[in-house]
């Protein structure tokens, strides 16, 4: 497969220069390397600029409600474990509106890959603070600057026992491609938080801002070391990108017994015999 095999005919509605283009390119490259066909993939999103991604990649897609991509994605994977399910979401969608689902789907550990386009701002609603906005950042709604503490996605995911936690940067496409591929190959819930500059509304966290702070995690980091992962995730001055943590843990499919069954979607329901269940009530 080639990245262009995943081209969609739908015209792209992102602003020129948007960090989302980098994520799109990396995702296509990762899918090409994965070698699966569009019909074997399911892209799921909620609402926001990142949530438009499924329209721009050729695959099965489910573009649902704001904040609700994760429950739909997890259930689709439960219904058909043969699908490769990828969620493209944003910091507002995933960490704000859908925060509860973020917490509990890490616990649920269904084998899905979640790419969070983290631009630290609300783009689609034109520039309000997001859960990851820097304190002090001024917006139309927060003219005195953001006063809420930022939501720490990596540390939260680590604290909840997420089996794959990574951070990428939209301008580092090849690096991001590797992260996405590793996330898809990890069995269980994989989180890839991606710094994604918003050229229209975020005048603070620009390409230049990220370029000064972002650095790639080197081979000296042991991704299986949770303590070291927590220390990396806690860095605020310089911002590490790469696989922060990766460790095997039983997935929902293994624990629920689903992996030992034919996919639910293939069950023959034309003639379910209710009598064995009915016997309890006779």
């Amino acid at each position: 497969m080639e990245p262009n095999d995943f081209n969609s005919a739908d015209p792209v509605a992102w602003c020129p220069g948007c960090g989302n283009f980098g994520v799109q390119a990396a995702l296509k490259a990762a899918l090409a390397q994965l070698g699966k066909e569009p019909r074997q993939l399911l892209l799921v999103s909620g609402i926001g600029q990142a949530a438009k991604m499924p329209h721009y990649i050729k695959a099965n897609f489910f573009n649902g409600l704001h904040g609700r991509a994760l429950p739909a994605a997890a259930a689709a994977k439960i219904a058909n474990r043969e699908l490769t399910v990828i969620v493209t979401t944003g910091d507002g969608d995933c960490y704000g509106e859908g925060g509860n689902h973020f917490l509990h789907n890490i616990r649920r550990n269904v084998d899905i890959t979640v790419i969070v386009h983290d631009n630290q701002i609300y783009g689609l609603t034109k520039g309000q603070a997001s859960p990851t906005s820097e304190p002090g950042m001024k917006t139309k709604i927060q003219p005195g600057g953001v006063i809420l503490a930022p939501f720490p996605p990596l540390e939260t995911a680590l604290a909840l026992g997420c089996g794959f936690v990574a951070r990428g940067y939209a301008a580092e496409r090849e690096h991001l491609t590797e992260l996405i591929l590793a996330g898809i190959r990890h069995k269980g819930f994989s989180l890839i938080d991606v710094f994604q500059p918003c050229v229209s509304f975020n005048k603070l966290n620009t390409y230049e801002w990220y370029a000064r702070r972002v650095y790639k995690v080197g081979p000296e980091h042991d991704a299986a070391d949770k303590t070291a992962a927590m220390a990396l995730a806690a860095q605020r001055e310089r911002l590490p990108i790469g696989v922060i943590y990766s460790g095997a843990k039983p997935s929902y499919g293994e624990l629920s017994g689903l992996d030992g069954m034919p996919p639910l979607v293939d069950a023959d329901i034309s003639n379910v015999d209710i009598n064995p269940a009915l016997a309890d009530f006779r």
Binding site: H55, F62, N63, A75, A79, H104, L278, F281, R282
Partner: protein
């Protein structure tokens, strides 16, 4: 010999009231009687006052009685709480020594329930002592009770079975020797007793039978019983039951699973359904089949968590933003709950719409014996699903005469599956075009409604055109039936499906009638307003009850006699 008897077992939460009540109901059905049993319990795990009231009769019964001929009080508080529920000529059996009651009023009988329970092993066995007492008073043999106890504890091991059997025997012997009142003997009329089950259980069996493979829900009374029953049988039937983190997740999970090609549903009560409204709208917009069971309880907000109401009729009809077609089933009995579940899945998939099953605590948690409906009824019809070998370019939201488009299942056809909550064109991508908007709205609302309207479950109509015609939906079916048998020149129309509204059938049933009254477990007369809006028939009034408790037929009969049309 009596042809009907009403028995209340009452005490505090945690005393095994439900267990004793279920054993009693089973004892009667196993010995040739019909039963209808209601549960009345508080929203607490210990303490308070709960009761389980069994109506046993030689003919089928489908509603509760207001008062009880025999009340067994298992704690002191229950004596006062159930005082007014004792029927004239009835008896209340209580443990005077245990409750510290010195002088027994007329109609009260002492039985050393707790001393007997202690002999059997402890106060835990008081409920089995009660069962033995009731067997002596009403059946005049111990075998019926012994069989019931053996069955109840068969799975719990020898110790529990033995001690409960001993307790029941002690209760029986005490009552046979000391309570000399043959007035409560209940005749038997052997029949095929069928099944003993509650509405929620029948609904769950319908869900399993329909081939549902994914049930996601957040626990909420009084809907949890559905999830419990499905979970009980999930392993055998290959069903995943997922407890979601909240109702928003529950509905979005059901939609995600349905999109991926399995029959999926969720169940909840009013507060949870409120959280699901956006998801309901999403199912409609994405044309993803979705079944939701809404088991009503009194609101607003938390309301009465464990009690009953029909307050969410209009909510169910109008929930979700935007305009779209839906079906709303309002079953009136366990049989209808089973059928509604199977029909709801077929409707949801064939029309690619949300289908709601609207029930309530009373129907959901009341037990009755029924001849189980034909289990092969309503075989699954999955509608237009694309098979392998279809044209890859098939458009998900292709326009069609009936508004229904062929649906691809991800990974199971050459065509790609698409779902979009934004307004979209036929291929499923976002659009802002006015002409597309018009056609898609007509597809989702008008064309699908026309199809649904052609398949409405017909109302049950008894004595059409009678001088007084009662109208009801959902759980009041049994009450309407018994009211009409008792009241003169009265008929009824009952809707097992309230939406799309069967206006023609309504007009036909009510033609020539003197007065039309609705019977509703709510304060607003929601059904009366709906009938007026949809058929132009103005009900003269409504018999309403909104105290959180179900109707009894005699309440409705006396309301009709009083001419009181504003409350039961």
């Amino acid at each position: 010999m009596k042809n009907e008897i009403n028995i209340r077992i009452t005490g505090e939460a945690g005393q095994g009231i439900i267990s004793a009540g279920m054993m009693l109901a089973r004892m009667y059905t196993d010995s040739g009687r019909h039963v209808f049993a209601i549960q009345d319990y508080m929203s607490r795990i210990r303490g308070g006052n709960n009761f389980f009231q069994v109506r046993a009769a030689t003919k089928p019964v489908a509603a509760p009685a207001k008062q009880a001929d025999i009340i067994i009080a298992l704690d002191k508080e229950a004596v006062e709480a159930s005082k007014a529920a004792l029927a004239p000529g009835g008896v209340m059996v209580l443990d005077a020594e245990k409750f510290g009651i010195k002088d027994l009023e007329n109609g009260r009988i002492n039985a050393p329930i707790y001393a007997l329970a202690q002999e059997a092993g402890g106060p835990l066995y008081a409920n089995s002592v009660a069962l033995g007492i009731l067997a002596a008073l009403t059946c005049d043999n111990f075998e019926d009770a012994a069989k019931t106890v053996a069955r109840e504890f068969a799975s719990k091991g020898g110790e529990a079975a033995l001690r409960n059997a001993q307790a029941a025997r002690k209760g029986y012997d005490y009552a046979a020797g000391n309570i000399k009142d043959p007035a409560f003997r209940l005749a038997a009329a052997p029949h095929d007793r069928g099944c003993l089950l509650a509405g929620n259980e029948a609904l769950a069996l319908g869900v399993i039978s329909a081939g549902c493979k994914f049930y996601s829900a957040y626990p909420m009374s009084p809907a949890t019983g559905i999830m419990n029953t499905v979970a009980d049988h999930a392993a055998r039937y290959g069903i995943i039951v997922e407890q979601a983190e909240d109702e928003i997740a529950a509905v979005n999970m059901a939609i995600g699973a349905s999109f991926a090609g399995v029959r999926a549903m969720t169940g909840t009560s009013g507060g949870g359904f409120a959280l699901m409204c956006e998801g309901l709208s999403l199912a409609a917009m994405t044309e993803t089949p979705l079944v939701i069971a809404l088991i009503m309880r009194p609101g607003p907000a938390t309301g009465f968590p464990t009690r009953t109401a029909q307050e969410d009729l209009l909510f169910a009809l109008h929930a979700g933003h935007g305009e779209f077609a839906r079906a709303v089933y309002t079953p009136g009995s366990p049989e209808e709950c089973f059928l509604a579940a199977k029909r709801a899945f077929n409707t949801a998939e064939r029309f690619q719409v949300p289908a709601l099953i609207l029930s309530d605590q009373y129907l959901g948690e009341s037990f009755t014996n029924i001849k189980f409906p034909d289990t092969a009824c309503e075989p699954p019809d999955r509608g237009r699903i694309l098979k392998n070998g279809t044209t890859p370019g098939t458009r998900r939201y292709e326009y069609s005469d009936d508004g229904v488009s062929p649906r691809a299942i991800p990974g199971r056809s050459e065509a790609l599956a698409a779902a979009d909550s934004d307004e979209h064109g036929p291929e499923g991508h976002i659009t802002e075009l006015a002409e597309v908007r018009i056609k898609m709205t007509e597809k989702r609302l008008k064309l699908k409604m026309a199809g649904l309207a052609g398949e409405i479950l017909p109302p049950t109509v008894v004595n059409p055109g009678a001088k007084t015609m009662l109208c009801g939906f959902g759980s009041t079916l049994g009450v309407l039936r018994e009211t009409c048998a008792a009241a003169k020149e009265t008929g009824f129309i009952h809707y097992p499906q309230i939406w799309p509204f069967p206006a023609d059938a309504t007009l036909a049933a009510l033609k020539g009638t003197g007065r039309v009254l609705t019977v509703e477990n709510n304060a607003g007369g929601q059904l009366a307003g709906l009938i007026r809006r949809e058929s132009g028939v103005h009900a003269a009034g409504s018999v309403l009850k909104y105290d959180g408790r179900p109707f009894t037929p005699d309440e409705v009969v006396s309301a009709l006699e009083r001419g009181n049309q504003d409350g039961a």
